[in-house]
């Protein structure tokens, strides 16, 4: 089981990663050098090595068996998709350095008993803080393992008390082109919006992060607080949230608006449903050389598969 809760005062991984980060960087040179060397001297060796990686002989079908080596802090904070700060992977780290998150208010609207505009601090009051180590699978077929810090989304929803008519929850990212240079272009229809079915949002795995590696979130990771739904592609895990809306009908979501043929509302990680333009069968874990097989629901099937009982996952992709 992958939810790892931990007292926040424990020694966090962040304090001991510098060396592993260094090793990780060296590893690419070494592994790729080995790869090249082998390619030149023994193609047959490579072929057998390659069959090891084929889906059939894969033994890591259960999430628990996958090794959970954390992705180095530097990679987690410099390799980001956060188009509000630019389309390049290193743009967010470059342009979010002065991102100001104080004061931060969050609008709560729609079918809910406690609507209003909350200071973030008030909103977070009473939330049970914990650390959770989750895999993050990007729709672009790369992945990371990140030690988040935050609280269960269900706790926040219980505090806000959606009415009985609420079936969905929608989140909205800050719109502030002065601070977010990417919003000066029309790459996406700003502000970014995402949503979940209410039962998905109430699932214990759904998480609201305020930090990672024991530190407050940086701008590029969605400061000051963001959603983390580890069984869905990364774009569902909306960052820098300024509004939470409870709705009766399926709310619009940004990537679906932009290209509904390629990005659905559900966006569950699924190796059997390819992106129309690239394969989702495998993924590259950042820091690793060989791709690894992608798991249904990103390996969190035990926890979330029941949410989709009887649903055609190919149709509701």
């Amino acid at each position: 089981m992958l939810i790892k809760s931990r007292n926040t005062h424990d020694c966090l991984e962040s304090e001991v990663t510098d060396y592993s980060l260094y090793m990780q960087r060296r590893r690419f040179i070494e592994t790729s050098a080995k790869g090249f060397g082998l390619a030149m001297i023994a193609p047959s060796l490579l072929l057998s090595a390659c069959s090891e990686a084929s889906p059939g002989s894969d033994t890591t079908t259960s999430a628990g068996k996958q090794d959970q080596e954390l992705t180095p802090y530097e990679d987690v904070t410099t390799y980001n998709n956060f188009y509000e700060f630019g389309l390049g992977k290193s743009d967010p780290a470059k342009y979010a350095t002065k991102f100001n998150v104080k004061p931060w208010t969050v609008k709560v609207e729609g079918a809910v008993e406690n609507p209003g505009t909350y200071d973030l601090e008030d909103l977070l009051k009473g939330m049970q803080q914990e650390e959770r180590i989750y895999r993050l699978r990007c729709v672009e077929a790369w992945s990371m393992v990140i030690p988040w810090y935050g609280f269960a989304l269900a706790d926040l929803i219980k505090k806000l008390k959606p009415t009985s008519t609420a079936k969905y929850v929608q989140f909205e990212t800050l719109y502030d082109p002065k601070q977010m240079p990417g919003q000066r272009g029309r790459a996406l229809d700003w502000p970014y919006v995402e949503g979940l079915r209410l039962d998905e949002a109430m699932n214990p795995l759904a998480f609201m992060a305020t930090g990672l590696y024991g530190k407050d979130l940086l701008g590029q990771n969605g400061a000051p607080f963001r959603l983390v739904v580890p069984w869905k592609y990364g774009f569902k895990s909306i960052k820098s949230i300024v509004a939470i809306r409870f709705t009766e009908t399926e709310p619009p979501t940004s990537w679906n608006i932009t290209n509904s043929g390629e990005y659905g509302f559900y966006a569950n990680v699924n190796p059997k449903v390819n992106h129309p333009r690239w394969s989702q069968r495998k993924e590259r874990r950042i820091g690793e050389f060989r791709k690894r097989p992608t798991l249904l629901f990103n390996g969190y099937g035990d926890e979330v598969a029941s949410l989709y009982q009887g649903m055609d996952l190919k149709r509701y992709f």
Partner: protein, 207 residues
């Protein structure tokens, strides 16, 4: 053009065309390829493959504009560098990216239009690279020129490949498309075409 430049055009061209590779090697050996080095190499090599292909297409307009022969003296070298960067791009895809996973590569080839376009460009480049020697030029004579016109299609496929793979924002591929169209327009014998269209037909007496 300075005489020195013209005289040493080949080594100068070779050095300049090697710089992108040297820079990539520098990034590689100093561990500066970032969190996802393979993706970085894919993009870098792809970008330079397309740039070199388009630069190759500049030789003829340059030659015409300057009335100098030196652009023709480096034309084959430019083309071969284009082929080199495409090959690097493909080798990176097969070795580092897919790690010889025939299953994945096969499905990429049959299911992904952008890979098909890229592969078609690569396959078309092979005969051009093979016939890029002086000897082959002489042997093929007129047909050499006809054969090497395939580069127009190759560059178009490269641009198409870029358009098909982009996730968001068509800005960058659009720049390459504009450059491509400009280079193609420059080759059109515009004046002759126009005069052909507008030239009053000579009416011949059927009798």
């Amino acid at each position: 053009m300075p005489a020195f430049f013209v005289k040493h055009i080949k080594p100068i061209c070779f050095t300049l065309c090697s710089l992108p590779l040297a820079y990539l090697a520098m990034l590689f050996f100093t561990d500066q390829l970032g969190a996802n080095p393979i993706e970085r190499i894919t993009r870098y090599s792809g970008t330079w493959a397309l740039r070199m292909t388009l630069i190759t297409l500049m030789a003829t307009p340059l030659q015409r504009a300057l009335g100098a022969v030196w652009p023709f003296r480096i034309r084959r070298m430019l083309g071969l560098f284009g082929f080199f960067y495409v090959t690097l791009h493909l080798a990176n895809y097969i070795v580092l990216d897919q790690f010889f996973d025939g299953y994945e590569i096969y499905f990429d080839l049959v299911e992904r239009p952008f890979i098909m376009a890229g592969m078609a460009a690569f396959l078309l480049l092979i005969p051009l690279a093979v016939t890029s020697t002086k000897k082959m030029m002489r042997r093929l004579g007129k047909r050499w020129k006809q054969l090497h016109r395939a580069v127009y299609l190759i560059a178009a496929l490269g641009v198409l490949h870029y358009f098909l793979l982009i996730k968001l924002g068509w800005f960058e591929p659009a720049i390459y498309l504009l450059v491509y169209l400009a280079l193609m327009l420059m080759r059109m014998p515009i004046r002759e075409t126009l005069s052909k269209i507008f030239k009053p037909r000579q009416v011949t007496d059927p009798r």
